[in-house]
């Protein structure tokens, strides 16, 4: 294990990407993710990589599209309003079967919103990361260490399935420092990219990377093929953490920053004799339906905790096929819920019986 150092989440994301072999980063500053781009601007020139501050978020994401087309590992990062601008490029990449990593360090919305931590882009990330029939892989770290671990994983899975992957973080995780051990990383892709539109000196037939298909039948066939891949991903790639769920009657479902707060509340509820547990989705798409459904067997009720008005709650209800009540507690606009608030809601759920 490498030495543990203190690092900001944003910087750790950048360093982890570099160690995963990302040498092409295109960004545009926005609070609260700016340290990520700043780190890239310092390090990339020293290691023969590309750091480019584009003229806009749209330009940056299209530069990622270009770099990914050539078969290299490329990344961009932003925060909520900037991600909205990038959705066009994300859709084009999905439609071109291109692997790349997009980082969203979420802040309060809608509109310019605020700059404090939020999880209000869940719907955007998991349901409509761009126009058209598409998904992107969505990973939701809840610690700086997990941010590091998931960046390499996101690059690997993006390459494996030829699709964009998103790290859905938030301002709290981006700004905070925690001890982190950053391993050597994969240093690059193990996946062959015979489709890449790169230089070959006439050695093969040229490749075309494209998302335009004017024949409806061709497009339908392509989209259906893509959805077969998505089905494999839903089967194989869901990740979650279960905490004290074995005998839990009241199960909190929370991801990212709010999962940390929820864990403190679950721990306190246990000490007060309430059988509480936590399921923390690590992948938001694919959603860890099975883990949640399995936990429902012994559970009486669920509580979804989010830093939004309740965007994940429907996925929880679907996962358990509405077999148990699913309540919601959230704060939004940039407010981080407190463990005490979550505990109060667990108690409400547990009613009189302990």
């Amino acid at each position: 294990m490498s030495e543990r150092v203190l690092m900001k989440g944003n910087e750790a994301l950048a360093e982890a990407a570099i160690r995963a072999g990302c040498r092409h980063f295109f960004g545009y500053p926005i609070t609260p993710q700016t340290e990520l781009a700043a780190y890239m601007s310092k390090v990339m020139p020293k290691i023969g990589g590309t750091y480019l501050q584009a003229e806009s978020e749209i330009a940056a994401v299209n530069m990622v599209l270009g770099a990914a087309s050539a078969g290299v590992r490329a990344m961009t990062s932003s925060s909520s309003p900037g991600i909205s601008l990038k959705t066009e490029g994300i859709s084009y990449m999905a439609g071109s079967d291109l692997p790349a990593v997009i980082i969203n360090v979420q802040r309060g919305g809608p509109g310019l919103g605020g700059i404090q931590p939020s999880q209000a882009d869940y719907w955007q990330a998991t349901k409509a990361p761009g126009h058209g029939d598409l998904h992107v892989l969505v990973f939701a770290p809840s610690s700086v260490q997990e941010m590091v671990d998931l960046v390499g994983h996101a690059f690997d899975k993006a390459d494996e399935y030829r699709m964009p992957a998103m790290i859905l973080a938030d301002g709290m995780l981006g700004q905070m420092m925690e001890p982190v051990a950053i391993g050597e990383g994969s240093g690059g892709s193990n996946v062959e990219k015979p489709w890449a539109a790169n230089g070959h000196k006439g050695g093969r037939k040229h490749n075309i990377v494209n998302s335009l298909y004017l024949q409806a039948a061709d497009l339908e066939r392509l989209v259906k093929e893509r959805f077969e891949r998505y089905a494999v991903i839903e089967e194989k790639e869901a990740m979650s953490e279960s905490y004290m769920t074995e005998d839990a009657e009241y199960i909190v479902v929370a991801y990212g920053a709010s999962a940390r707060v929820a864990k403190a509340a679950v721990r306190e509820a246990r000490s007060q004799g309430i059988k509480a547990g936590l399921i923390r989705p690590i992948t938001l798409w694919p959603f860890p339906k099975k883990a949640i459904k399995d936990a429902a067997e012994n559970a009486k009720a669920f509580l979804c905790v989010e830093m939004s008005m309740g965007q994940m709650i429907d996925d929880v209800k679907l996962a358990i096929e509405c077999s148990r009540p699913v309540e919601f507690f959230g704060r939004t606009g940039g407010i981080i819920p407190t463990p005490a608030e979550v505990l109060e809601n667990i108690k409400k759920l547990a009613g009189g019986d302990k």
Binding site: L6, G114, M172, M176, M177, E178, V261, R267, I336, T338
Partner: protein
């Protein structure tokens, strides 16, 4: 002290966030779990800066400290903002050169250290924050002098290692100040 949940607050430029980093690194060097969360955005740009620091033997759940058991205040507005949030039995350390407030609570330990004045007198301008860490060590024993020495060597950049003795001196002044 088992778990330390600290809020450090003052003006931007006083080294509030750096103070938090030093404390966090000391925890890390001692093999504990730590977290550091700064205020960012308009709050900081408007002049006041604060950060939450947690040190624990166990993984840290929420890094945002709402009810601190340690509070260090380096200006009046910060003192006003957080003093009522301190848990009973908590420790409050005040730079009394800059904070002229009277403490009305009697369920907390209050240490008034004229850190800014002590720094100037001893030729340690800008190290008032480090003096306050010294006082915090004396009050809580959150780390040893040996750990702090290592911490300072680690956190002071390689090109500025000549500043290490001054920082150590500042820690000692804070530790030994009886006020």
């Amino acid at each position: 002290m088992n778990d330390m949940n600290a809020v450090l607050a003052g003006f931007g430029g006083q080294g509030i966030l750096f103070m938090g980093k030093v404390i966090s690194y000391a925890g890390l060097i001692d093999g504990k779990e730590v977290s550091w969360l700064p205020s960012y955005g308009p709050e900081m740009r408007g002049g006041t800066a604060n950060c939450s620091v947690c040190i624990s033997a166990d993984p840290i759940c929420s890094p945002l400290v709402i009810t601190p058991n340690v509070f260090v205040a380096m200006n009046g507005p910060s003192f006003d903002k957080f003093i009522d949030a301190v848990v009973p039995g908590g420790i409050v350390i005040i730079d009394s050169t800059l904070v002229d407030r009277e403490v009305t609570r009697n369920d907390i330990t209050v240490c008034k250290v004229p850190a800014t004045e002590l720094a100037e007198k001893n030729g340690l301008k800008g190290l008032a924050n480090i003096i306050l860490i010294g006082k915090l060590m004396e009050q809580t024993g959150f780390c040893t002098m040996e750990t702090m020495q290592k911490t300072i060597e680690k956190i002071v950049p390689a090109k500025k290692q000549h500043l290490v003795p001054k920082n150590v001196e500042a820690i000692e002044i804070g530790m030994n100040y009886a006020g």
